[in-house]
Every structure is written in C-alpha cells, then in structure tokens.
C-alpha cells in the first residue's frame, strides 16, 4: 500500500476545525433525512433561544377571542384566555431545550467519566458500578422519575435536569466501559501506561478521542430521552413551572378539558407538533450520525 | 483428456470510488481429473478473488469483465459464467465444493453440526434423514472424528482443527469432482496443520478428486500439489509442476518467494524478503507489474507486459522476458532453489 503523502502546512488553506466541519456537512448532505434533521435542530435552537429575543412575550390576551380557530391575525388560533398560540409556541421552547441540553451534558459527562474509570480501575469498584448501572437500566425510568418528582418537587429547570440525569447515565456508561475495556488492551494504551502517564492522561488523551462518535451520538439520544421525560412530568403537573413552556400548554389544556373541545384543537395540537418535530429532527440527525460513524452500515 | 476445469483469460474488476480495481487479469489455467493445483501468491495477489469467482460467489462489487470458466463432468461442459441460478446452486458443492479460509466462522453458530449437514443434503435434493445421517457418519469417520460427539455439537464447542475436518467431511458429501480450499491451514497451529495436510493427502488418494488450494504457504504446495501457479498483482506469473517450480523456477518472483522461505534444517541461509510492495491495482504501472521490485529488470520490462512464455522445460510457462537469465542464475541441478541460494 502506498503511503499517502502527509499534507504540508503550506497545503492547508483552511483551519482544521473548519475543514472537518465542511467534511462533516459533506457527509451529511449525502443522507437527506439526516440533513433535514440537522436543519430542524438548528431551526429549533433558533426558535427556542433566539426568537424570544425578538418576539415580545404576550402576557394577557383578548378575552373576546377565546379559542379562536386559526386566522390571519392568529396563525395558530388562541387559547382559553385569548392569548395567541403562535406566540406561546415561540416563547415555549427555551426551557425544554435548556433542560434537554443540560441533562444530556450531565449524563454524558457522568457516563463517560464513570465508564472510563470503572474500566481502568477494574476489580470490585468496577463490579459494583456495573451492578448499579444494570439496576438502573432495569427499573422502568419514567415511573421512578415520577415517584422522585412527586417527593421532591423540582422548581426550576436546573433541578429538573438534575433529576433526569440521575437515571440516564447507565446506558452510555456501560458502552463507554466496554469500549475502554477493549481499548485498554491496545498497544498505545499499554505504551502510555508503561510510561506511567497517569490515569487522567490515559483517559483523556488516549481513549476518549476514539470514542467521539459514541459520545456525540449518546448526547443527542440523551436529549430525546430528556425531552420525553420532562414533557411527561410537566403534563402530569409534577413540575410546578411557571412561564411559557410547550408542555405546560398541554398541562393547562388538560386541566381545562381542552382535549375534547373541537375549537381548542390548534391550542392542543401546536405544542404537540412542535415537540414531535423537535424529537424527529434529533432522531433523524442521530440516525445519520450512526450511519456516518459506522462504516459497515454505509450504503456504498 | 478434457480438463475438468478450464479457465481462459479470466479478468475480474472491483468497483470502487477511486475507479475499478483490476484484481484478476487474464488468468488462464487447466485442472485435469485427479490433479491438485496450488495457487500461491501474497495477499492482494487476487487468488481469493479468483477462487470465489469459480463458484460465482464474488461480492456484489466484483464483476467478471471477460473470460470463460469451463467446467466438464461426465455428461457435459458448461460455462460457469452463464449458468442459470438453480443450476448454479446444484453445481455448488455437488460438482465443485469450496472450503473457505478461517473455518472458524464457516458454520452457523446457532444450529448444530447435524443440522448443517442436513441443510446441505436437503439443498441438493436428498430428503431421507436416515440416509443423510448414515452418510454423515461415514464422512466423519473418514476424517477421524467421532460422529456421535460431533453431530450433536454446536460450532463453538469444536476446536479449529475439528471444524476444519468437519468442513472437509462436509465437502465430500456429494462427491464433487473439484474441491477448492482457500488457505486451509492458515489459522491453525502447526500440529493441526500437519494432520490436516496428511488428511487431505490420504483422502485425495482414496477418493481421487481434483483439488485447488490457495495459499501463501509454499510448504503445503510442496506436500500436496502436482502443479503450481504463482500469482502476482492479479495475474499468473508462472505455471509449472511442483518439482519444476521448486528446483527450476523461471520467474524472478517465484525465486523471491522461494528465497523468502526459512529452512528448518541445516545452516542459516540467506533468507530475504522481497523489497518493495505490490502495485496499486487501480493504476497499474505499464509493462511487467513485477518490474519495480525485480532485481533483473531492464528498461524493456517496463514497456509492455509480457505474455506467458514457454520456457526450457515442458508444461512450464513464465511471464518474464528474461527467463533465460533466471534459468542461468538458478541452474538445472537437482537441488532445491532454497538450498542452493543458501549455500551460495
């Protein structure tokens, strides 16, 4: 096999991160569903964090226009107090996205660290941690979350994220651990160890870069899990949030019996659609990621 | 006598992003009834691609661009390339059985050995379980395995050597004329290799089938083969009887291969690997593909790829315009080349 010529400094026209970003986009564009998902994610990030900066929050509504059907004035109709639904949709994504991002970050961090350390240390510590992870995986997650939330009402979104993170790390932790166990046997790790380079160094320099794909994929999946769980908890009324939130819209809709009210259809359907489209974007994107990172599944 | 297998100008390309890979180029050879031919070459020489094409089991990205594969049995001669699907399925295993590299993963892990025998038999129209069972026992006895133990076992319960024997037994089930073995001993330890080679030799004498085996190991060729074909960069570079090739090679690559085999007995000889690496099969250099690594290369070698030229021995061809020079260097003595080079 002829050795590929290494690019010299002078050959590079773009900085490395930008190069890999362009390469990533190129790979993504080969998978239309993944590209759609990616665009969807960008759209929702903008909608959730940027749009509210420009669209003012409507606190009160026009009481003469309760549960109006969609019109030019109110593109998605109004709710039980005459408030514009579209406005609520624009305002309502921030909390959900924040919780999802924080939870995903926490679970990924915890899982990666615990998984690597557990695999590297081994012995009883490892066995204990694996047992804990197994138990967490077996227990039906939503029910546990419900019980915990009922006992310790999370009042802000950070607390909610913490609660959600309690369970979510088990799956990735086992994957990370399995990967680290195989990588542990590889030569370059042996070399690093024999050079006595220390546990942290080994984890962060030698092993983690090989797990980038797992971690990114898990991060996105953790977001979908967090969205699933928090929406359920909010709809159940277990999370006494105030303010605008897609899931809260559904909570109010339920307590007002709006589900069975034909005119209220768009008030109920809009947040559902928003959440589904957000989940869909994440899922399509992560499927494309799995395809990109797994050469075997690549359709040639 | 018509050869049972006659390959003519076979060329196979793989489709890849960078362009077609010319994995097999203009390969021609014959196999006579009862003959054993060894196809020797390094990895990437195209020998496995060639072998799988003989039963049309190439991957989807491979395409036979030209050539003919003519198979003859008592009744007729067919071109394997044009065989319809159901006849192809019949041809596979009952006429020509191919035993793959790494028998370790040739068996379905979730069904037992008996089922795999039965599947094979039933796929070829044998439905009587009792008869199949009797035949399976007979075959396992032939390869010195205990049928009672093996038939009820699952593949993971057998060792590598046992699995290889089972595969050999299975391959004889329908009494094929031709058995192709791809690296039959590579994944096995040296003692098991010995027993498999002995087994193959015995079976061949008893049952008279023809064999092609693919290997990079010259010693197995020396033991079992009647004739040898060396392949390099997808094409045949030398065709000869085994003794001819070992004692009187006429292509620099064959000489290089022989020189690279360390000797177990006697003085430490000059063991040398062939410098350089095989060419890129997408963009082949013009002329002889071995020229870049060949110690005898002259400018004329890089102009045009030579044809297989007959040399000074009968039934012996080499793809080298300087075969006479090779002949001079190697001589005609009854001493194996490896020995000769060592003592030189």
């Amino acid at each position: 096999m002829t050795a590929a010529a290494l690019p010299r400094r002078g050959d590079r026209t773009l900085p490395r991160p930008l190069e890999s970003a362009i390469e990533f986009l190129r790979l993504l564009s080969k998978r239309p569903s993944g590209l759609i998902g990616f665009i969807g994610i960008l759209f929702f990030l903008t909608l959730a964090f940027v749009a509210p900066l420009f669209v003012p929050n409507q606190e009160s509504g026009d009481v003469t226009q309760l549960y109006e059907t969609p019109s030019l004035q109110h593109l998605l109709g109004t709710d039980n107090a005459g408030r514009d639904v579209l406005n609520q949709i624009v305002q309502g994504g921030k909390e959900i996205m924040s919780v999802a991002l924080i939870t995903a970050f926490l679970t990924t961090l915890v899982a990666t660290v615990l998984g690597s350390i557990s695999a590297l240390i081994g012995g009883r510590f490892d066995a204990a941690l694996v047992a804990i992870a197994d138990i967490l995986l077996t227990v039906p997650p939503l029910i546990v979350l419900i019980v915990i939330s009922a006992l310790a009402r999370p009042t802000n979104f950070l607390a909610l994220a913490l609660v959600l993170s309690l369970l979510g790390w088990a799956g990735l932790m086992r994957q990370v651990r399995a990967q680290v166990l195989t990588l542990k046997e590889r030569d370059y790790v042996e070399a690093a160890r024999s050079l006595d380079l220390g546990l942290i160094h080994i984890v962060f320099r030698e092993i983690l870069p090989n797990m980038r794909s797992y971690i990114v994929i898990h991060f996105v999946l953790a977001m979908t899990g967090a969205i699933y769980a928090q929406v359920a908890l909010i709809i159940l009324g277990l999370v006494p949030f105030s303010g605008k939130n897609w899931a809260l819209m559904l909570y109010f809709a339920q307590t007002q019996g709006a589900f069975y009210f034909k005119d209220a259809f768009w008030f109920v359907f809009s947040p559902i659609l928003a959440i589904i489209l957000l989940q869909l974007s994440l899922v399509l994107f992560v499927n494309a990621l799995e395809d990109i990172f797994n050469p075997r599944l690549r359709s040639s | 006598m018509t050869p049972i297998l006659s390959v003519r100008d076979l060329s196979i390309d793989y489709r890849t992003r960078r362009g077609p890979v010319h994995a097999v180029r203009d390969v021609s050879f014959d196999i006579a009834k009862g003959e054993t031919v060894a196809i020797i070459g390094e990895s990437g020489s195209g020998k496995t691609t060639l072998a799988v094409s003989l039963i049309r089991l190439s991957p989807r990205s491979a395409k036979i661009v030209k050539g003919r594969i003519l198979y003859t049995n008592d009744r007729e001669t067919v071109d394997i390339r044009t065989l319809p699907d159901d006849e192809l399925r019949q041809y596979r295993w009952s006429e020509c059985a191919m035993v793959f590299q790494a028998a370790l993963n040739s068996f379905n892990p979730v069904i037992n050995i008996w089922e795999q025998f039965a599947d094979t038999a039933r796929a070829h129209g044998l439905k009587d379980s009792k008869k199949i069972h009797a035949r399976a026992q007979e075959l396992l006895d032939l390869v010195h395995l205990d049928p009672k133990r093996v038939l009820t076992a699952y593949p993971h319960e057998l060792s590598g050597g046992m699995k290889q024997r089972v595969l050999i037994a299975l391959s004889l089930m329908l009494e094929p004329q031709l058995i192709i073995l791809d690296e039959p001993t590579t994944a096995l330890d040296i003692l098991t290799q010995r027993s498999i080679i002995d087994l193959l030799g015995t079976l061949r004498k008893r049952l008279g089938f023809s064999m092609i085996f693919i290997s990079h190991d010259l010693s197995i060729a020396a033991e079992l083969a009647d004739r040898m074909i060396t392949m390099y960069a997808g094409t045949v570079v030398e065709r000869a009887s085994v003794t001819d090739l070992f004692y009187r090679p006429r292509h620099p690559y064959s000489v290089g291969l022989l020189r690279a085999v360390p000797r177990v007995s006697g003085a430490m000889g000059a063991v040398a690997s062939i410098p350089g690496s095989p060419p890129d099969l997408i963009r082949l250099p013009p002329g002889c593909t071995y020229a870049p690594r060949c110690p005898l290369a002259i400018p004329a070698c890089s102009e045009r790829e030579p044809d297989l030229l007959p040399v000074d021995m009968p039934d012996h061809d080499a793809r080298c315009i300087l075969w006479k020079t090779v002949a001079e260097q190697v001589g005609n003595a009854e001493v194996a080349v490896a020995e000769k080079i060592a003592t030189a």
């Binding site: 569903s33 546990v144 006992l151 009210f261 | 379905n108």
Partner: protein, 370 residues
Amino acid sequence: MAATTPADTKLVAQRFPTTPRASRARHILGYWRHPIAQALLKAFLTVFVTTTITFFLIRLMPGNPIDIKIDELTKDGAMSYDEARAQAASLFSIDLDKPVFEQYLSFVGNLAHGNIGYSFISQGTPVMAIVLAVLPWTLFSVGTGLLLSFSIGVFLGLFAAYNRNTKIDHILSLGGSIISAVPNYFIALLIVIVLGVELRWVPITQMRGATSPGMQPGFTLAFVGDVLFHAALPISVFFLATLGHWILGMKSATINALEEDYVNAARARGLSDGRIMTAYVGRNAVLPLVTQLAITAGLAIGGSILIEQYFVYQGVGLRLQAAVTQRDYPVMQGILLMVTLSVVIANLAADLLYSKLDPRIGRAGGATGT
C-alpha cells in the same frame, strides 16, 4: 486470534492433582458461573435495591410523606399528634419509634409477606390489593402490543435489509425513524384529539375503561371480545410506539449478519436463499433484539401513566396518576415496586428465551480439544 488445540496428538496435558475436598468446593463454585444463577441473583438484587431506595426516599426526604400525613391529620386539631403519628405509621406499615434500621428490617419483612402498606386515601385498603387489581390490565396491553410490534417489526426489518437502498427500504427506515421519534403518550393523545375528537373516526368514549360496564368476567367470547375492544387503543399505541425500534434494529442486525462468513459458506454449499434468510441470517440477527425486549417493555410501561389516562383504561398507569394527584405515597411506592418486579421478571424471561435461542450461552461451551 485462532483458538486452537493440538488436534490428534497423543500428548496429554499434565493434570494437576486435586484433593476430594478441593474438587467438591470447585464443583459448588461452578454453579456460581451458571448464567441462570447469576440472572436470578441480579433480579433479586434489583428488586431489593429498589425497595431499599424507595424506603429511604420516603423516610428521609425533606417534606417526607409521613410528616406530611401527620400534618394533614393534625390540622385543625382533628387528631392529636401521637394519634396522627400512630395512624401514619400504620398506613405505611412502619414503626416510627424504632430506629431507622429496624424500621427498614420490618419493612423488608413485611414485604416478604406481600404487605406493602395501606393506601392513604382509601383507608385500610392494602396497597398490594390495589396494585394487583390494575397491574394485569397494563401488562396485558403492553405485552400484546409489544409482541405484535416485535413479530411484525422484525419481519419488516429483515425485509428492509434484504432490499437495501430500494424505495421500500427507504420508506420502512424513514417510517420507522419517524414513529420512534414520537413519544408514546403523544401517539395516544393524538389518537384522542385527532382521530377521536376532530375526525370522529374512533369511538373513544365507548372504548373507555378496561371493560364495558356490567360485563361479567369469565372466559366467555363476549367478555374476551369486550376486553379486546377496550384494550385495542392502548395496544395500538404500544404497538406503534415500539414498531420503529424493531424495524431499525432488525435491519441493522441483518445487515451485519449478512456480512458474516458463514452466510457465504452456506451459499457455497448451495443452500437456497430462503433457508439462508430464515435459519442463517434471521436467527442470528434477531438475537440482540431479544435482549432488548424487557427494556422496551419497561419504557413502554412508563408511558402508560399518560396513555391510560387519555384512554381512561384502568391499568397501573392510571392508578399511579391518581395516586400522584392524591399524594397517596404508599400506593405510589407499591406501584413502583410491583412494576419493577414485573419488569425484572420479564427480563428473566427474556434472558431465558435468549439462552434457549443462542447455544453459545449457558452451556459448558468452548473448545474441548482434539
């Protein structure tokens, strides 16, 4: 790495001498390795840890339910503190005077007798009875939905993998992705508001409840038909919610299986494509999916808390929701325990099924030489 042993050499490895006692000890320890023993232990541990954690959660959390109950009972002087304390304690089946650890032990002891407390709300009704009245309905709908989605999903996934990159593959894969993205409770909610209220295609009011009022339970056709009628919506939701996962999972597993050497070797032996698809590719590809059956069931049961609410289906989810609204902590705890127990049992069953399907697990296994 090739696992080989000297095949038919006459060399016999030197065997280490063992005393009778050592060999007996080794024999008993050998049982430890047995996967069934390990699985049972893991199951037991899971339930055990869950109950322990729930106990300490309820007991030790700030604003713990026992104190809340005491507050409730002593409100407006309706009851003295001691009386309230006693009542709260008896409802939770714990003795507040004993040290925490002893309370824990008696809690576990009660558990062994099937006593998991008494409902706060319906005074005196044992939680176990409450849960057992509703749990079977949920298990029935989840189980049926999951079984249907597994069988159909696996078949579709296999089909998609075999027809890779064709239109039907793209439809199945995209469709699978889409339905797996929708949260299961939303599928239920959408059925209610779109098919039920907006379009009126589904008679949701009639389909409420686990059975029609006045139906006599029994193995009559009428009763079974009625049960199925009422369970049809929850079953459909669980079916749709999990179908995508099986389609995509089986497609991926089949693609991997198709690249295995033994598939090629089987073709070389002249086996028909049909036989290879079922016994060689299919049976191997489905194995990793079987391990996911129980986890998928656990996730599905989680969604039942909302799904059963929307369909007013009297299963464990609906009861949990009621318990949450009413702050009936013993019932919440009891449901968590029983559901965990169910999932653990399902896990064991799935593990057992897996060991039957994959001969490499649970047998003495491994190369035995010559």
